[in-house]
């Protein structure tokens, strides 16, 4: 199972806790994880990446294993600890507001 940590506003939208678990078939990449997330929680479509371009929304970033993966290829395999569920994949909103 892949573990995904969501920012607070998306937890309330999806009516879930801090972390969700997902089944991801095949190679575990950012794209396959986000697609699995949006399939399980359709209300999140368009809130993390653009509907059409699939680009990450500018005020969000993606992290795993203490690495910023935001600008990595969405099709690159995620680190093994994420793929095996030891470490979560983090979707993080920009800290803003002072």
């Amino acid at each position: 199972m892949i573990r995904v940590v969501l920012p607070a506003n998306l937890r309330t939208l999806a009516e879930v806790g801090r972390e969700v678990e997902l089944e991801v078939g095949g190679t575990v990449t950012q794209r396959t994880v986000l697609t699995a997330l949006e399939t399980a929680y359709p209300m999140l479509r368009g809130t993390i990446r653009d509907h059409v371009t699939q680009k990450r929304r500018p005020m969000l970033r993606f992290f795993a294993c203490e690495e910023d993966l935001s600008d990595e290829s969405p099709d690159a395999p995620l680190p093994e600890p994420v793929a095996t569920g030891k470490e979560p994949y983090l979707i993080v909103g920009a800290i803003a507001g002072g």
């Binding site: 920012p7 506003n9 309330t12 479509r45 368009g46 809130t47 653009d50 509907h51 969000l60 909103g93």
Partner: protein, 371 residues
């Protein structure tokens, strides 16, 4: 028993306020959509328990919520607002060309005849329509492809389509308004649009009576007289008696004719309400006094309505969608402030009471009169 239900959108969620027809004691429910901007919540005239809400956040984009039980429960609807055809450009603040880019839904306008049909006015300025209760959205792209669209420039709040008025006598006619492009009308159900800004004068643009470029803040119409429109422009209160083909100024004796809201009495089509704001640089009421102004003869002659409203040290604004009227015999008037107070009058504005205070900044107030 008649129930009055207020749908209040705020900077940090939505609230529903209900009362009986006396409109003296209110029940406050909410917040819904906590932490999100709720620009607008509005109910269907066909099925009042069908509500639509625009929920957005800079981080996470747009969500449209739908309720089928009067706001007790909500379900996310479709949020894919895709511009049709080629993406054209509009002017940016520095006069450069900027591609149209969807940001948020400012206003949701449910159809007068079909509970599953709803219009959405969005930033960057475009008009969308859903005929499946918000599941999917199609742009009425003749507006954004109008020959003047490349010259439209945003106001301080963005290039937003914030006003959608349906003509109850002509289902093919819609009047819309964009800050700061002006007002437009379609007479063919959205196949074509034309600017309706003749008579507007805006001395903050190079050609002060240009065809487009006017910062229209809001337009109101009484359903019995769809040819008559009342407009609060950036500066100036205007009226038209030919569905916007031409406008005349009716600011009259207002202390300032800058403002955002304008609305019409439910039973008196010549009685209108505005909340004057000091200026475009000082977005608060003048002299520290919160006053609604009422004209009973369609403009020019205005009276201040202040009973029950703070008359010292008040520095709030009332935003463009934050006033509404109910349909009870003694017309109720409601508005919300940027300081989070919603005021109600159960006597057409003669006196006011705060019905809830200290909410997040109020972005919109809509009222439903439920039999």
């Amino acid at each position: 028993m008649t129930t009055v239900r207020l749908l209040v959108g705020t900077h940090k969620g939505a609230f529903i306020l209900t009362s009986d027809e006396r409109r003296e004691r209110w029940k406050i429910d909410g917040p819904q959509f906590v932490g999100w901007d709720v620009y607008h919540v509005k109910g269907s005239p066909v099925d009042p328990n069908r509500l639509y809400a625009s929920q957005s956040r800079g981080w996470f984009g747009q969500v449209v919520q739908r309720s089928d039980d009067g706001g007790k429960s909500w379900e996310p609807a479709g949020n894919e607002f895709k511009y049709e055809g080629a993406i054209n450009t509009h002017k940016w603040y520095d006069n450069s060309d900027h591609p149209y880019d969807f940001t948020r839904v400012w206003h949701l306008e449910p159809s007068l005849t079909d509970a599953d049909t709803v219009y959405a006015g969005v930033e960057d300025a475009a008009l969308f329509k859903s005929t499946d209760a918000g599941k999917s959205w199609q742009e009425l792209d003749a507006l954004r492809h109008h020959p003047t669209a490349p010259s439209w420039a945003p106001g301080a709040g963005g290039l937003c389509l914030h006003t959608i008025i349906q003509d109850p006598k002509n289902p093919d006619r819609l009047v819309i308004a964009i800050s700061s492009a002006g007002a437009f009308r379609t007479d063919d159900g959205g196949k074509s649009f034309k600017p309706i800004n003749k008579g507007l004068r805006s001395n903050y643009i190079p050609d002060e009576d240009a065809e487009v470029g006017h910062c229209v803040h809001h337009i109101a119409m009484h359903p019995s007289r769809p040819e008559t429109l009342f407009m609060q422009k950036h500066w100036d209160v205007m009226r038209s008696d030919n569905a916007g083909d031409s406008w005349t100024e009716v600011s009259g004796n207002l202390p300032t004719d800058f403002g955002f809201v304008i609305d019409v009495h439910a039973h008196e089509p010549e009685t209108i309400y505005v909340v004057p704001i000091k200026s475009d640089s000082d977005h608060f009421v003048p002299d520290g006094k919160l006053r609604v102004y009422r004209s009973k003869n369609g403009g020019n002659e205005w009276e201040a309505l202040s009973k029950g409203l703070p008359q010292k040290d008040c520095y709030v604004n009332v935003l463009r969608d934050a006033m509404s009227v109910d349909n009870l015999e003694a017309c109720g008037v409601y508005f919300g402030t940027t300081a989070g107070t919603v005021y109600a009058s159960n006597n057409a504005g003669d006196s006011w009471k705060p019905i809830v205070e200290n909410l997040p900044a109020v972005l919109s107030v809509e009222v439903q009169t439920l039999a």
